[in-house]
Every structure is written in structure tokens, then in C-alpha cells.
């Protein structure tokens, strides 16, 4: 057993990243994720062969990640909505160049400068590209501070395994709340050797380069086809979700992150009223757990999607259910968190 600590979500991400071998962090502060930047500054500046840079902008930070990743190092950046928007060009470059890294988005209310309270309205941006071109990030959505720790460590492994950027998609609530966390010893997993492609200085060997382009369209198409192959493998192998109470449920809720956590309390309370609710909580948002949603909607024909947005994951749930179930939606946004009461009231609406 590892030691237990009481940590803020944002600090926990930082500690998990360092324990996963991340020695390079580049970022720019923004509420509600600034504690992560502060934590990395406190820790990395005291470590050997490590670098922390408070970059002059988010665009600079993501470019520094590109540089560090190209040398084979585990690198990370983090931000919230507006800052993540600024990073999109660099994220697209990283995906094209097939560079592994971890990007953390602790979502706040949007659009625009929005608010500093929690949100989930960056789902489209995270899962459908965000930047230009055909690419995907591996997107992980934690629901507790402990899961934030575990998924941050997994994100580095997944990024290395598929040489693709991975994103932790949290929200202000999980970033700011405090919970006890444990840093367990992790099993060593086999990851592909980076030696072949990393840039280490070309003294005594042919020079190598890592660029996110090819001006020959047929060669550029080959790059596209290669990364598309990779996404297929990711979809095949990396889907994760949590399913609760799917047998004999009167209605299934699909929710992720902190909203799913509120739904869990709703499920317990509804049970006392004789209402049986199930939950599908996607842990990976890309790859999206389509199959379980498809199978469940064949059995239970009432689904409610709850998000802190006006219906983004909703579209993926509809595609997965493919008309088999009645898909309803409840959302609050702009920084407003849906309450247990609101969710239960909404559920009851569809059960009468």
C-alpha cells in the first residue's frame, strides 16, 4: 500500500504525472487549474533533469511540449477552456507528428472567457478534433480524485503506447475538491521503444526530423492513413466505462466525470422511492463506449443523458443507440452544476 494524502484534484494530477515520469511541464495559469501549474513549479524546479516553464502564452507552452516530446521525454501541459482553445494548433501538430504527451483540460463555464465555475462544454473540442485536420486525442474523464491520479498515469502510458497525445478532461469541481488519494505501486507495462524516432542529436548518425507536414499530398495522405489505422486500434482496445445497475433498470443515465458522481447519489436516493436507475459512465470519451450503449438501449428503451453542457456527448449516445431507445437530455452550463433534485425530477418526467 502506498501512502495516503489529502489532495486537491489539481495537485493530484501533478503528483501523478511526476510519479509517471513526467519531468517537463509547460503551462500558463488559468482558473480553475492553476494549482496544477503551481504544484509543478514547486516540485519540478527542485528536481534534476527536469524543467518547469511558465510560458509566455498557451501557444508557446504547447510548442514546448512538442519539443520535449520529440526528445522522447514525458511532457505535459494543462489549462482550462480559453487556454485549451489557444493550444489547438499545437495539439493538431502533435497528433500529426505522432508525438506522445498529456494535455489536461480542467473545464470551466464557456463559451468565451465564460466563468470560473465547472463545465463540460469542451467535449466536442476534446473528442472531435478541436484543432484542424483528421485526428483524435485519447480522452480520459475522471470522476474522483483517486481516478484522476490513476488516469493521469494511464494517460502517459497510452500516449506512449500509441504515440498520440492524450487528454485528461476534468472540470473545475474535480480540480478544486479535496479527497484522500493513494499512490500505489504500478505494474510495469511493456511500451514501444522510442529510440527509433526520438531526436537525440545527430552526431555520428544520419539526421532525423519530426515534422507535422508533408507538402506532397500523396505522402500527406499516407500520414493520415497511418494515424487513422492507429485510431482503429485505440477504438478496438482502449474503451473503458463503468456500468451500474443495468439489469432491470427503468431508465439508464449516461453521464461522465463529476456529473456521473451526482447521478450515483441520485440512483441511491431513487432506490428508496422504488425507482430503479442504471448508469453508464464513459471513462474514455475517445474511444467512446458505443457498444455497451447500443446493447443497453436494446434492452432498456429510456435513456437520459446529463451533462454540464447543452448536449454534446448526447450526440455520441444517440449515434450509439441508433434509434433503439428514447434519448432524453438534461443539462446546465455556464458554470452551473445540476443538482440531485433536478436530475431526479427530470428522470421522473420520463417514467410516468
Amino acid at each position: 500500500m502506498g501512502e495516503k494524502m489529502l489532495m486537491k484534484g489539481n495537485e493530484a494530477i501533478g503528483e501523478a504525472a511526476i510519479r509517471a515520469g513526467c519531468r517537463f511541464y509547460f503551462g500558463y495559469p488559468i482558473t480553475p487549474q492553476s494549482e496544477l501549474t503551481a504544484y509543478m513549479a514547486k516540485k519540478l524546479l527542485k528536481m534534476k533533469d527536469a524543467a518547469f516553464v511558465q510560458a509566455e502564452s498557451e501557444i508557446a507552452a504547447i510548442s514546448m511540449v512538442y519539443g520535449a516530446a520529440a526528445t522522447g521525454a514525458r511532457a505535459m501541459t494543462s489549462s482550462s477552456g480559453p487556454g485549451i482553445s489557444l493550444k489547438q494548433e499545437g495539439i493538431s501538430y502533435l497528433a500529426c507528428a505522432e508525438l506522445p504527451c498529456v494535455i489536461v483540460n480542467i473545464q470551466r463555464g464557456g463559451p468565451g472567457l465564460g466563468s470560473i465555475q465547472p463545465g463540460q462544454a469542451d467535449y466536442f473540442q476534446a473528442t472531435k478534433g478541436g484543432g484542424h485536420g483528421d485526428y483524435h486525442l485519447i480522452v480520459l474523464a475522471p470522476s474522483s480524485v483517486q481516478e484522476l491520479v490513476d488516469l493521469t498515469m494511464d494517460a502517459f502510458d497510452l500516449a506512449d503506447k500509441y504515440t498520440n497525445p492524450a487528454m485528461i478532461l476534468g472540470d473545475g469541481l474535480i480540480g478544486q475538491m479535496m479527497e484522500a488519494v493513494e499512490f500505489k505501486e504500478r505494474k510495469k507495462i511493456d511500451l514501444p521503444d522510442k529510440e527509433g524516432w526520438i531526436l537525440t542529436g545527430c552526431k555520428g548518425r544520419e539526421k532525423k526530423y519530426i515534422v507535422p507536414f508533408n507538402l506532397d499530398p500523396y505522402e500527406m495522405e499516407k500520414i493520415n492513413l497511418k494515424i487513422q489505422e492507429k485510431y482503429k486500434k485505440i477504438i478496438e482496445k482502449e474503451i473503458r466505462y463503468e456500468a451500474i445497475n443495468l439489469d432491470n433498470a427503468d431508465l439508464i443515465v449516461v453521464a461522465y466525470g463529476t456529473v456521473a458522481r451526482i447521478v450515483k447519489t441520485v440512483i441511491d436516493n431513487a432506490k428508496k422511492e422504488g425507482i430503479n436507475i442504471g448508469l453508464i459512465r464513459p471513462i474514455t470519451l475517445f474511444p467512446f463506449p458505443e457498444k455497451i450503449i447500443a446493447e443497453t438501449s436494446e434492452k432498456i428503451n429510456k435513456v437520459l443523458v446529463v451533462e454540464m453542457s447543452y448536449g454534446q456527448m448526447l450526440e455520441d449516445v444517440k449515434l450509439a443507440a441508433n434509434g433503439k431507445a428514447e434519448i432524453n437530455f438534461y443539462g446546465r452550463a455556464g458554470g452551473v452544476v445540476p443538482t440531485q433534485f433536478e436530475i431526479l425530477t427530470e428522470i421522473k418526467k420520463y417514467l410516468t
Binding site: 494524502m5 489529502l6 482558473t31 504544484y39 514547486k42 479527497e179
Partner: protein, 222 residues
């Protein structure tokens, strides 16, 4: 009754806000006029201002940014604070933001506070990342004293792991905080224990007084 002005400082996330809120309610029993000041310029969520309605009901004045600025993460300092510091009718609780960064704001009031009837209490939770050992706690105390330019007069022991707290966690954490207190040559004023342990952990278990805490900051699933 002890000092008229109580200043709660401590590392980021040490539990200052919950303790300051509870302490203001406790002080209201002996003082006709109690005010609590949300001096947190560091945290964007879970601040004293969120308990404002509950405290107002108990006839405790809450000084915090209002209106549109309620949700802001800006270093806003109300001009009312200076008045309350100098008003001898008021028992005043200052909930200061975390670490030395949060204590910066105190430097601003030092001139008015230093000669008054005040005490500055360092809240310590030994399960938090940067206060896990006696030397770390000592360093935190020094950094806060340096930026606030005020002396820490006492320690509030607040050993907990949130919802995963148990008797053993409290006892072990408290031992470490005691060692730190000895090193700092500052007395422990009281130990904070969640009210859910009020039947299990009593006065006789500790040398120091126990202050039972009721939580005011809630998560949407609790």
C-alpha cells in the same frame, strides 16, 4: 475569552475556511458582534462566502466580495475590513488564503493589527502535500510569518483525510503536528475533529482541547 482578533493562516487546503466558519459560530456565543472576513485571494471555489447565508442566519457578519464579484477570483479587499479591525466591539475572524501567497494580503493590515489584541493561528493538516513533516511545517510557518510580518502564536491541529479519516489517522497525524509545534516552540491551541467523531473521540484522549467541526462546504453529490 481569548483574543478579539483571530487570524487563521496555513498551507493551502489545510482546512482554514471550515475552521474559521465554525470558530466564528463558537465566538458568537460570547460576543454580541462577530464578523468573519473572507480574505482568500487564492482559492476560486469552496470559500467562506459560500457559507454566507448560513452565517448571516446566526447573526454573524460576513465580509466578502458581493454581487457580480462573488464568483470572481480577484484579490478584492473590502474597505470595511480596516474599520472592523479597529472597532473594539467586534470579535473578528480573518480567514486568510493559503500559503505565503495567501498571507501577502495580511501584510497590508499589519500596521493596524500589530498593536491590537490579536492572535495568529497556523492551521496544520499533516496529510497535505507540503506539510507532511516537522521541517516542512516549520518552513511553511516561517514563509507565512515572513510575508505577513506577523507572529504565529498558536497551532491548530487539523489532521484528516477528508471522508477517509478514522481515529488512527487523527491520532497519528496529531503526533506529528505536536512534534512540529515543539520544534516551532508554539503551543497547540486546539485539535479539530469532525463532529461525526464526537462520540468516539473525547476530551480525555488528548492533552489539548477538542474543537468539533461541522462541514459547511458541500459537494453536489453529498
Amino acid at each position: 475569552m481569548s483574543k478579539r482578533i483571530k487570524i487563521f493562516v496555513g498551507s493551502f487546503g489545510s482546512g482554514k475556511t471550515e475552521i474559521a466558519i465554525n470558530y466564528s459560530i463558537y465566538c458568537r456565543k460570547s460576543y454580541a458582534k462577530v464578523a468573519i472576513v473572507d480574505l482568500d485571494i487564492v482559492n476560486p471555489y469552496f470559500r467562506t462566502r459560500e457559507a454566507k447565508d448560513a452565517l448571516n442566519l446566526k447573526d454573524i457578519k460576513v465580509i466578502a466580495p458581493e454581487g457580480d464579484l462573488f464568483y470572481a477570483d480577484l484579490p478584492l479587499i473590502s474597505p470595511e475590513i480596516k474599520g472592523l479591525i479597529q472597532n473594539p466591539d467586534y470579535c473578528l475572524i480573518l480567514d486568510v488564503g493559503g500559503d505565503d501567497a495567501g498571507a501577502v494580503v495580511l501584510g497590508n493590515f499589519r500596521y493596524f493589527i500589530k498593536d491590537l489584541d490579536y492572535e495568529m493561528l497556523l492551521v496544520v493538516n499533516s496529510y497535505r502535500p507540503f506539510t507532511q513533516s516537522a521541517p516542512q511545517i516549520k518552513q511553511m510557518a516561517q514563509e507565512i510569518e515572513n510575508t505577513s510580518r506577523l507572529k504565529i502564536n498558536g497551532i491548530v491541529s487539523n489532521p484528516n483525510l477528508g471522508r477517509q479519516t478514522d481515529k488512527k489517522i487523527i491520532k497519528q497525524g496529531h503526533i506529528l503536528i505536536k512534534q512540529a509545534a515543539q520544534k516551532l516552540k508554539v503551543p497547540i491551541k486546539f485539535i479539530c475533529i469532525d463532529e461525526r467523531f464526537s462520540q468516539k473521540m473525547k476530551r480525555e484522549n488528548f492533552e489539548e482541547p477538542i474543537f468539533y467541526i461541522k462541514r459547511f462546504m458541500h459537494l453536489p453529490w453529498n
